[in-house]
């Protein structure tokens, strides 16, 4: 069974043999191919029951969440079961500022946000607010460890959702906030509100595809940032905390501060994804931000390989794509798309027993200039050996 799950090792070995330039080249090709996928969709990949562009847009959002959660769970080793709470804070921030249903609406003519760029302006605000939420949440909870941390974060995630559900005077309760702003870009006669509006629903290059492209660009940016963090002192501290917190503390690593950093950065990334979600669906309501989705995000990270920022993107793809692909496919009277939680639950169990490190396990690249250091060491041996 472990052999079946091991193709990730082959891929990983091949990837680590490549030089930096080659990695960038393959990355660019891969990125281009991914971007063109909704436009030239091969038949076996297409999703018959639901818009492919929409599916890819959802994938981009979950991928961003997975990268954020990976920072918290995979790199710093903090099991966060309430990550969906940050997703909610990001989405609600954008919705509260721009929805006509919200009492804190700041869109013109009363407010200072102009409709065309309201969404764009709200994204950094959403990230900042979510980061602040991460800080506030992290302060008391990060003193707790292991299973207890998992349960506390679970509790907080649910409290956030219940607050959104009950404080109906502000968040409109279960009825949700409608009419959230979205970027107005590329307005034409047919599409007076631009390509990102839900009016752009037909064809391959529908609004889902546009949101997917936006998401892809953001993914690349975040990967660069997180990659830099990984190879810096912060990343090394996270690995130390993850492997053995007490040892790290005794070696002089300020574990609490770095854990808090992981939490805050993870929260900010989650908030970004929430803002994307609010803009795309243009409707934010509490039922989306439940524990089950939290588990699904965790599943994406665990499936892809905890600590591997590219692997979790693959995990996110599996989580989003498979249920949509199987929508409408029936097996013995049961719609397979409905069984998605069953399959992912099984996948989690099977993976944890046979391959707990995930499909694409992480290989620590801790040194900033590791490659050149290794080549230097390798070449340094020869003159010495010759003597």
């Amino acid at each position: 069974m472990s052999v079946l799950l091991a193709p990730g090792d082959v891929l990983r070995r091949w990837w680590s043999e490549l030089t930096r330039v080659q990695k960038w080249a393959f990355g660019a090709i891969g990125f281009g191919a991914l971007a063109l996928l909704p436009v030239y969709t091969p038949a076996f990949l297409d999703t018959p029951g639901i818009s492919f562009g929409g599916t890819m847009a959802q994938f981009a959002m979950v991928a961003i969440i997975a990268i954020g959660l990976n920072v918290v769970v995979g790199q710093a080793g903090l099991l966060d079961l309430g990550y969906v709470g940050f997703y909610a804070v990001g989405a609600y921030t954008v919705a509260l500022l721009t929805s006509p249903d919200s009492p804190w609406n700041r869109v013109a003519p009363d407010g200072w946000l102009h409709e065309n760029w309201a969404w764009l302006a709200c994204v950094p605000i959403a990230m900042a607010v979510t980061a602040l939420a991460g800080l506030i949440l992290g302060f008391p909870t990060l003193r707790v460890r292991g299973d207890y941390l998992a349960i506390v974060t679970l509790g907080f995630g649910e409290i956030i959702r219940l607050l959104a559900d009950n404080l109906a005077g502000v968040t409109n309760g279960p009825r949700g906030l409608n009419g959230v702003a979205y970027p107005h870009f590329g307005a034409t006669e047919d599409l007076p509100h631009g390509v990102f509006s839900s009016g752009n629903s037909s064809g391959d290059v529908n609004y889902g595809t546009w949101w997917f492209w936006l998401g892809l660009i953001l993914i690349v940016v975040i990967l660069l940032l997180v990659g830099n963090l990984e190879r810096s002192r912060v990343g090394r501290a996270w690995v130390a905390v993850r492997e053995d917190e007490d040892a790290a503390e005794s070696m002089g690593v300020n574990t609490f501060r770095f854990k808090l950093w992981a939490f805050v950065i993870g929260a900010a990334i989650g908030g970004l994804s929430g803002a994307l979600y609010a803009g795309q669906v243009q409707y934010v309501a509490p039922p989306t931000f439940n524990i089950i989705n939290s588990m699904l995000f965790l599943c994406a990270v665990v499936l892809g390989g905890q600590g591997n920022k590219l692997g979790v993107i693959f995990g996110a793809f599996v989580i989003v794509y498979l249920p949509n692909r199987l929508l409408g496919v029936e097996l013995m009277g049961v719609n397979l798309g409905d069984l998605k939680y069953l399959f992912f639950g099984l996948a989690l169990v099977v993976l944890m027993i046979f391959r707990p490190q995930g499909l694409f396990p992480v290989r620590q690249q801790l040194l900033t200039y590791g490659r050149s250091a290794r080549t230097l060491l390798a070449s340094a041996d020869e003159p010495k050996a010759a003597r």
């Binding site: 349960i151 509790g155 009950n166």
Partner: protein, 345 residues
């Protein structure tokens, strides 16, 4: 629909009531009802606490064990004993009703117990053999919780007609709630009495088992020090099986009692929230501590009721979560502290 908020705080304040009058007038009624709920939480909490005490593992899937017990009881009443689902209560007389309830409870216990044992075999034993990290156990537990829920949600309707699915089962009401006597103006119904007394009896039996039998001694030994216990000749695997079995049996009993209280609550998702609350109760009382589970359960049930009376019905669940978070942050060992592995309970 758009409420103009005079200062955002008025909006917030409007949604969180502070209805002291409601709490005051109904205080004893809320207390009595809270004890009934607490009894159910306590029975489920014992399952969590025992497994944690012995294995240091939070059995996330325990809530689904409870849910399966509910379906088991329903199945017994519906297909074996022949009660047709209906919104009206059956009234077969005291002795017969007690008999039927007893049969259903035993059946529910059997279903839950076997599910718990199955869970241990399928999910946890392979992990223990591979010396997995605690994080891995938790993720597996979450996975199994999903699997069981969705199995009942989508696959069960294909196996047994009319069971599972997205809607709650049509209720089978065996006992019509009737006030037996009053305490300070609060009515105590027969349902409440049955629930609280059964819970206390079962708790006492569990206590006797853990403290007076050989198996119980083994449980306490493994909880205290697994390696030494093995050296002393205690079969660790058998003890673990027994622990899961007891937890499952108690969850099955709680399932039947819950069915008495909320006959319309038998649905695939019916275990999840209750499981989290029961876990909160276990933590509140002191996880790993049997008496703690009981106290925690009753305390949570009562506090929840007060909370919803005070703040509004929609805040009921928030109270449970807030209590959980506060306990874990302030005193993670709970009110009575961990003690399954110590000489004194």
């Amino acid at each position: 629909m758009i409420q103009e908020c005079i200062g955002q705080y008025v909006c917030l304040a409007g949604d969180i009531g502070f209805n002291v009058e409601n709490l005051r007038t109904g205080f004893w009624q809320f207390t009595i009802d809270g004890l009934a709920w607490g009894a159910i939480y306590a029975l489920v909490a014992v399952g969590y606490t025992l497994v944690f005490g012995v294995l240091r593992l939070i059995n996330f899937a325990h809530s689904e064990i409870f849910m399966l017990g509910m379906f088991g009881a329903y199945f017994c009443l519906d297909l074996i004993l022949g009660f047709a689902p209906s919104g009206n209560a059956y009234d077969r007389g005291v002795a017969l009703t007690v008999f039927y309830l007893g049969v259903a409870m035993l059946f529910a216990m059997a279903v839950s117990g076997s599910a718990a044992v199955g869970l241990e075999f399928v999910a946890y034993r392979p992990l223990r053999r591979r010396n997995a990290r605690p994080l891995t156990f938790l993720i597996t537990a979450i996975g199994m919780s999903f699997v069981l829920q969705e199995f009942v949600h989508f696959v069960l309707p294909e196996i047994i007609e009319g069971y599972g699915g997205s809607n709650a089962q049509q209720p089978i009401i065996l006992v019509q709630p009737r006030t037996q006597f009053e305490v300070f103006g609060a009515s105590v119904t027969n349902v409440t009495l049955v629930i609280v007394i059964s819970a206390l009896v079962l708790a006492r039996l569990t206590y006797l088992f853990v403290h007076r039998t050989k198996f119980g001694r083994g449980i306490r030994a493994v909880a205290q020090d697994p390696t030494t216990a093995t050296l002393m000749g205690v079969s660790r695997e058998r003890i673990i099986l027994t622990t899961f079995l007891i937890g499952g049996v108690l969850a099955g009993a709680a399932a039947l009692l819950y069915m008495l209280r909320v006959p319309q609550g038998i649905i695939y998702s019916g275990g999840f929230l209750l499981g989290i609350k029961a876990f909160s109760a276990a933590v509140l009382g002191g996880i790993g501590n049997l008496r703690g589970a009981l106290i925690g359960g009753f305390l949570l049930g009562v506090m929840e009721n007060y909370g919803q009376a005070l703040f509004g019905t929609q805040w009921r669940d928030v109270v449970a979560f807030v209590l959980l978070v506060m306990v874990l942050l302030i005193k993670p060992t709970g009110i009575l502290g961990e003690s399954l592995g110590t000489a004194r309970v």
